[in-house]
Amino acid sequence: MTLCDLSLAEARDGLRRRDFTSTDITTDCLDAIAALNPKLNAFVTVTAERALEQAAQADRRLAAGETAPLLGVPLAIKDLFCTEGVRTTAGSRILGPFVPPYESTVTANLLRDGAVFLGKTNMDEFAMGSSNMTSAYGPVVNPWTRHGDNAQLVPGGSSGGSSAAVAARLAPGATATDTGGSIRQPASFCGIAGIKPTYGRCSRWGIVAFASSLDQAGPMGRTVRDCAIMLASMAGHDPKDSTSADIPVPDFEAACGRGVKGLRIGVPREYRSDGMSPEIEAMWQHGLAWLREQGATLVDVSLPHTKYALATYYIVAPAEASSNLARYDGVRFGLRQDGSDLQELYENTRAAGFGAEVRRRVLIGTYVLSAGYYDAYYLRAQKLRALILRDFTEAFEKVDALVTPTAPTAAFAMGEKMDDPVTMYLNDVFTVPANMAGIPGLSVPAGLDSAGLPLGLQVLGKPFDEETVFAVGAAIERAAAFATLPSLRAGVAL
């Protein structure tokens, strides 16, 4: 047993009780990272020295009797969050040696609350991917393996470094972001919890933008409660983000203990697609049964346009990305590849700096916005988005939350689903609708498939009702009693 085995809540409480110091737990995490990161590639940058300084400072504050929500708790930070003085790559070559001269609002909030940052986690380039295979810094290895099979599995994406780090117990919690499922799908693949809060709950300021109308930051943890604790620190109104919600942050941690008695849980019938694997279907039914046993009422609901969400997403997200990524032009920061004139410089820089998936999406986005195609693609997508939102709004008139599978499969092996882009995109079929509607979605580990890989269930809630989402997620978690550990983890000899 190392301190790495502690949940975030246990670590926080142990630090408060002075059972151990922040330096102790930070050192254990750094040691685990040193031991396992060469295998997992979960971290792009490890800031050991800085982490130990922050831990020492936290220890002084703890010794002085100070309290702060996360005082001394070590965390991993997805490399999409700009961190002042610490290189930030967004998983891309194009940012080159970029060192932000500013701290993102979310990470600044965590520092304000006393957190210690271990380093920056690997991710799909610009958060575009569902496998972490698009990172310019190499793929991340999922700490889980199938029974009797050594094939390296993907951790999911785009927050694959964060999910692998938390699952392998290199950190008790990690920040992540979710544009189409980038928190929930890797959480499901790695057997941990993760929540994408309501759009506007966390500030986007200082987070490298992928698709501005969809991007949301959120936490990953080994328990629902850990996510609740982290989100309370990450969230809050930020006047620097015009889309940030000016509403109070409730006590998410308390909501985890509310129970589900009397809640109406919607079961969207359209999620029961023809291709759904029987194992996923079975897990879903288990989850629903657990909730019914705890006093919830199950309600059949219809989200007729939800099946169009993924295709809609692949217009909206690339369109916004094509514009958001125009700033990577080799002029003010990051990579520059010279050319005989400015146009050549742009074209060379962006060809060399962006990986294949990013180039593909930028080109799709450019195309759907271009003259003559805007109405057929982008405008139509906006209308579909309105219909998708309307479906959810109507469903939430009848129910308090929805429960679905998080992903259509368990983690797959590296190299699988790489044949054509659309196959990879289908990973996000269950998670994307929440981004389109801006509603909160949580993935909670619910069990294992026959190969011994974790499967997650997704809880969707009303806008700004993360409390109910946490309550339902915690209820599933309690019933599932998910205790299996991945084969690669801190404290286990390689």
Binding site: P101, Y314, V331, L342, E344, L363, T366, Q382
Partner: protein, 95 residues
């Protein structure tokens, strides 16, 4: 909808991404595949639906007219791949 090579090149030009001949061929297939898959949206009747650009529940917040930023040319230029004094530089542009 299948993209022809000229369209792929035109988009790549607009996006300022250099593409080789082989890449054009590959992108033609990939992009056409994605766009073909997206065409499923045409089966939805969207007449009379107001487009939705975002899902924020806020009203556009406004800042007061106060100067509280700038005055940090060094930080602005610190990451520049090329500069002369306090200017960014690029290959000469002819207007």
């Amino acid at each position: 909808m299948a993209l022809d090579p000229a369209t792929v090149r035109r988009i790549a030009k607009l996006a300022r991404i250099r593409v080789t001949d082989e890449e054009v061929t590959r992108l033609q297939t990939e992009l056409s595949g994605i766009l073909g898959w997206i065409e499923q949206l045409n089966e939805v009747d969207v007449s009379g639906v107001a487009p939705l650009a975002g899902v924020s529940h806020q009203r556009l917040p406004m800042r007061e007219d106060v100067v509280n930023d700038g005055g940090k040319a060094d930080a602005i230029l610190a990451n520049a791949p090329a500069r002369v004094d306090h200017f960014f530089t690029v290959p000469k542009v002819v207007e």
